[in-house]
């Protein structure tokens, strides 16, 4: 990372009003609050339906202090394209255009428009906050729900399929900047958005976002659980700058170190309670192999 922002350097200016409808301990609230500080006031946001639609506020009161276009579920990146085109037509093209979508709005219903916008090389920042299910509608499985997870549409056996690797899909579009981040590492997220602003073309940031209600844990542990996902090596923080991949911050420090077992993460949340020992052992094996690969790089 080029810059390392500290808590004291972080702008004090808050762009999200308090008294909004997000649940107590919401991981999205943390990364949205920090993310908007990084985007700054000269930004236009595009938001599809998600928990953020609720957080944003009900008409006529807006929680977000930035101009924001609420759009339909499948249209996010296309709508961001439209904002960019209009700004360009009017010579207002210094303004940042950022889309902020959930995992459904990115990995599932939003993927076609996102892929199209990436191929067209639109100058947007697309941020996906991944809480690993359709939380706003009451915890249904999504493409990014991990294997074994109980949701209201995988209620007994848990999800049978693996999590979709959206970041890899975005990287395959050969974007100038792709990164993963976590709500539990806000400074790392802040720096990545600041960095994304320096690149042209589409930029993609995928944020792992703990959800107390959907994952089944006490709101008190939102940050702790997100941190555990990184510390167990399940969720890696990295960035890809013009196809150059590197682990960042807390994940980078894990190279060559003994990681905590994945059960330390799984045991904190009720959504993993259907996972068999075999499945857990399989995940641990996969994670170990992945990190062995990292050690070689």
């Amino acid at each position: 990372m080029a810059t390392k922002t500290t808590i004291l350097d972080l702008p004090e200016d808050e762009l999200v009003h308090p008294g909004n409808r997000a649940c107590a301990g919401c991981g999205l609230s943390i990364n949205y609050r920090i993310g908007l500080k990084a985007l700054g006031r000269d930004t236009i946001l595009v938001v599809p339906p998600s928990c953020l639609t609720v957080l944003q506020g009900l008409y006529p009161i807006a929680t977000t202090q930035l101009p924001c276009l609420n759009v339909t579920f499948a249209s996010t990146a296309a709508a961001a394209t439209g904002v960019l085109a209009a700004l360009k037509a009017q010579g207002r093209d210094k303004t940042i255009v950022a889309a902020w979508a959930g995992d459904g709005g990115t990995a599932d219903i939003g993927l076609q428009a996102l892929s199209g916008a990436c191929e067209r090389d639109e100058n947007l920042i697309f941020i996906c906050y991944d809480n690993e299910a359709y939380m706003n509608t009451g915890v249904q499985r999504s493409g990014t729900t991990p294997q074994g997870v109980i949701t209201t549409t995988t209620p007994i056996k848990g999800k049978l399929q693996k999590k979709k690797d959206v970041t890899a899909i975005m990287a395959a579009h050969r974007l100038s900047y792709v990164a993963t981040a976590s709500a539990s590492f806000p400074l790392d997220l802040y720096d990545k958005i600041i960095k994304a602003k320096t690149f042209s073309g589409p930029k993609y940031i995928h944020i792992h976002t703990p959800c107390p209600a959907g994952w089944g844990f006490d709101p008190r542990y939102s940050v702790k659980i997100g941190r555990l996902a990184v510390e167990t090596g399940l969720y890696d923080l990295y960035e890809i700058e013009y196809s150059k991949w590197q682990l960042t911050g807390p994940s980078k420090k894990l190279i060559g170190k003994k990681r905590r077992p994945v059960t330390d993460y799984f045991n904190t949340q009720t959504r993993f309670k259907a996972m068999s020992r075999e499945l857990i052992a399989g995940v641990q094996k996969e994670i170990d192999a992945k990190w062995e690969g990292y050690a070689d790089t």
Binding site: I7, E12, P18, A22, C26, I30, R33, G57, L187, S222
Partner: protein, 101 residues
Amino acid sequence: MRKNDFGSKKSHSEPGPGDGGKTGSWRVVRPVIDLKKCIPAKTNKMACFACWLFCPDGVVTRTIPPEIDYEYCKGCEICAEECPVDAISMIVETTLIKEEK
């Protein structure tokens, strides 16, 4: 008819606090900072502020000492969990309300 006669009603919201009301009323437990333990309060230095950083609702100030806006604090307890010196304790609201009465 004039152009201004049309489109008078649209869902265009304006920024303001408290869309969800005074969310402090959601709180079951209240974070209270022990200034004897709190790093910036104790050292009188701009340091730490983990509570400010992690607060999902931005209701903690980055000041010496940090202050919590109880009008909107939802009582999620993240500040208490993340405080490196355990300076924030969560007090059950009902006991506080009884004391205040």
